[in-house]
């Protein structure tokens, strides 16, 4: 009994050491991609700053500065109480800096939520398909193929037209909606629409992860150690969650970080076509889209959210790039 326990702890220790060193290797490799490191710092910084949004700005998110007659107003506009709008005010007279900060929270949360849900779901579905093979695999692969066949942007437009129309369709559990409301610093009513958008984007988002994981699982399930585990009586769920998914997680991580940037851009495209998150909930995408009619007149108005959007999106891409290099076991540098 004791020996067994000892050996387990020993094994655990060994594993820990091994994983730790592996993490260190990955980190070392990642560090070599300078732009990825810079991006990581920048994106984290923007994220941290956005968390402090209510502290950093004296203005409320939707407060309209009724005093300023010029809407939109240029950077440096000063309101009745003598407070400065650092980035000016938008077409409604709302402080642009404040809204960009709040939008950072919403946009980045949307991106993270979409990616988190779709990659998790995709990985799970892919693992199940690959692990069981046979009928299950056939069914799932066909569904994936089917989804890939439907042109995605056209369908995305239809879906958002249907689901973003009303705020009463989705029965969200109270705690979730409260949590999201706190995360996005937005009233619970607005959270509904954000969740809708997330789900609409997830609808197409999980496909690539599922395909990746299916491939990995397919080859893993044929390997001896899985057979051994089965023979030892491990349950399917345990094998899938403890062995298949962890082993195939690397490419998923890479595709996830690349997808993060994509989601932000897609959201802005939907907004341009009038089908994204609606005002007054700010996202970089809808701020950019609503201010596009001011493009010729007040170019800074779209420029502010535009710059943030592009920087963060590029940042996510670089991080993905760096991760790819770092996680690739064949790359030994």
């Amino acid at each position: 009994m004791t020996t067994a326990a000892q050996s387990v702890t020993l094994k655990g220790l060994a594993q820990e050491e091994k994983t730790e060193s592996q993490a260190r290797i990955i980190f070392r490799r990642f560090r070599r991609h300078r732009l990825a490191v810079i991006s990581l710092i920048l994106v984290s910084l923007i994220f941290l700053v956005s968390l402090l949004a209510p502290v950093l700005t004296p203005f409320e998110r939707d407060a309209i500065d009724l005093s300023s007659k010029s809407r939109p107003g240029p950077p440096g506009t000063i309101d009745m109480e003598g407070r400065t709008h650092y980035l000016g005010v938008d077409h409604l007279g709302r402080d642009l800096f404040t809204r960009v900060l709040y939008a950072a929270r919403v946009s980045m949360s949307i991106a993270v939520l979409v990616v988190l849900i779709s990659e998790t779901f995709g990985a799970l579905v892919g693992a199940i398909a690959g692990y069981y093979g046979g009928l299950v695999d056939l069914a799932i692969s066909r569904v994936i193929e089917f989804m890939l066949t439907i042109p995605s942007l056209p369908l995305l437009l239809i879906l958002s037209a249907i689901f973003l129309r009303s705020d009463t369709v989705l029965p969200l559990p109270g705690f979730l909606s409260r949590f999201l409301s706190a995360l996005l610093l937005a009233p619970e009513r607005e959270v509904q629409k954000v969740v809708m958008l997330v789900l609409v984007l997830v609808f197409f988002g999980w496909l690539s992860a599922a395909r990746l994981m299916r491939g990995m699982a397919l080859s893993l399930s044929k390997q001896d150690f899985v057979e051994a585990l089965r023979a030892a009586g491990a349950s399917d769920a345990r094998i899938i969650f403890r062995h298949i998914i962890p082993n195939g997680i690397a490419p998923i991580l890479v595709s996830a970080s690349l997808a993060l940037g994509g989601v932000i851009v897609t959201e802005s495209a939907l907004s341009f076509l009038g089908l994204g998150v609606q005002d007054p909930t700010p996202t970089w995408g809808n701020m950019l889209a609503t201010s596009q009619s001011y493009m010729f007149q007040h170019p800074w108005l779209p420029l502010v959210p535009g710059v943030f959007l592009v920087i963060v999106s590029i940042g996510f891409n670089f991080i993905g790039d760096g991760l790819r290099d770092a996680l690739d076991p064949r790359l030994k540098r």
């Binding site: 056209p154 010729f296 959007l309």
Partner: protein
């Protein structure tokens, strides 16, 4: 291989049918529809007026029947076998629907459930939906008639007027993006982590991160609006036409250039500049990234290392061994751009008033012209499955190790 092809083609047909059914269903449940807002037009509409209007858009039929009429043109009346009409009295729709009504009678709430006051029977179809306005079915090559965008006109004709513009735009920008993107990708891979690599990686990430409408409007601002507003200070600045495919009358680009006549090569070129610029930038980013990573992948392979070890010149190694193998996945993915030649670029076409398919589709979606939107999705789906198949077949051609059975 033949067996494989047959199986694949059957699967493809199924997938396309399912996709069509799915989108048709989505349209059916989406809010609005072609009649939205009709009651806000400040005129008195009776129930009969509304019913007649609904029938004009075939909204009186239940959606599965509508779908089958759209797909195969049936049912178009009772089924006649041996001189007898069968199923003539089968209800296929509701001409006069009735909502749930709640009236108060003697202090009691009387609920009359929603229902139908007048059904549409198979026998009514020839009269309610005359052949001249009905579709023969998309499977029989009849894409039906537009309901809103081009009331009563054939969808096919409408799409064919848009196709040349989209083809022109997409082919040119795809070609250019290959031309620029592939060499950049290769060079970036060879010089991984060099300054060149970083620069172009950044540029290509900007390409894929910048929303196209934003980029497009920036171009219009810089090349059309500013030069016009700054005419007095900088009269030599050329003013590019901001959009459309062709001009309709002669115009001047800059005073040091002759006036451009509409329809000439110069006119076409000038109008293509900005939309092609935006799309090329966008696609180039994707392709150079793709080529770079597949190049890197190949250069790590044993046979490349062996070739290097054998002392072959680096150039030979790259061109003969690495490049050839790196382009295998590229070819198969490049095939997937084919559906795009048909479907165009929704946002770019809108921003630059390019009279292409993407704009048509977006307008159709916005104004609930379902026949046009469905035809668009159907054709795109067909092209997508064929492109996928083509990609898979090409794979076996470029990489003989792979065989399908």
């Amino acid at each position: 291989m033949t067996n494989y092809l047959i199986r694949r083609i059957i699967q493809m047909m199924l997938v396309v049918l399912l996709a069509a059914l799915f989108t048709y269903f989505l349209f059916n449940i989406s809010p609005g529809g072609p009649l939205a807002g009709i009651q806000q037009q400040q005129q008195r509409l009776t129930r009969e007026d509304l019913a007649r209007l609904r029938a004009q858009y075939e909204l009186d039929l239940y959606w599965p029947f509508r779908f089958s009429r759209w797909l195969i043109g049936l049912p178009n009346g009772p089924i006649t076998i041996g001189g007898r009409d069968l199923f003539a009295n089968t209800a296929v729709g509701c001409y006069l629907p009735r909502d749930e009504q709640i009236v108060i009678q003697d202090g009691q709430r009387v609920v009359t459930p929603a229902g139908c006051d007048q059904y549409v029977y198979l026998a009514d179809i020839p009269e309610l939906h005359p052949a001249i306005r009905s579709s023969n079915g998309i499977l029989r090559g009849d894409f039906g008639r537009s309901t809103v965008i081009r009331t009563g006109q054939p969808v096919w004709g409408e799409m064919m007027t848009r196709l040349p513009a989209t083809l022109e735009l997409m082919l040119i920008s795809t070609f250019l993006s290959f031309l620029i993107g592939i060499p950049i990708g290769i060079y970036s891979a060879i010089k991984q982590y060099s300054r060149f690599d970083y620069t172009f990686t950044t540029i290509s990430f900007i390409g894929s991160a910048m929303p196209t409408f934003f980029f497009g409007l920036m171009l219009i601002l810089v090349f059309t609006v500013f030069p016009n507003l700054l005419q007095d200070q900088f009269p030599w600045l050329p003013k590019l036409p901001p959009g459309s495919r062709l001009a309709v009358r002669p115009y001047a680009v800059a005073e040091w250039l002759p006036r451009v006549q509409p329809g000439t090569g110069m006119d076409r070129f000038l109008h293509l500049l900005m939309p092609v610029g935006v799309l090329t930038f966008f696609y180039m980013a994707t392709w150079s990234r793709f080529v770079r990573s597949s190049m890197l992948e190949v250069m790590r392979q044993d046979y490349v290392r062996t070739a290097r070890a054998k002392g072959l010149v680096e150039k030979v190694v790259i061109v003969k061994h690495a490049l050839r193998n790196a382009l295998i996945p590229f070819v198969t993915v490049a095939v997937l751009t084919i559906p795009g030649f048909f479907s165009g670029a929704i946002i770019t076409e809108t921003v630059f008033a390019w009279p292409g398919m993407g704009r048509l589709y977006y307008e159709a979606l916005n104004r609930s012209d379902w026949p046009i939107a469905l035809a668009f999705i159907f054709i795109t789906a067909v092209l997508t499955v064929f492109a996928t198949l083509l990609g898979d077949i090409l794979y076996t051609v470029v990489d003989p190790r792979i065989k399908y059975t």
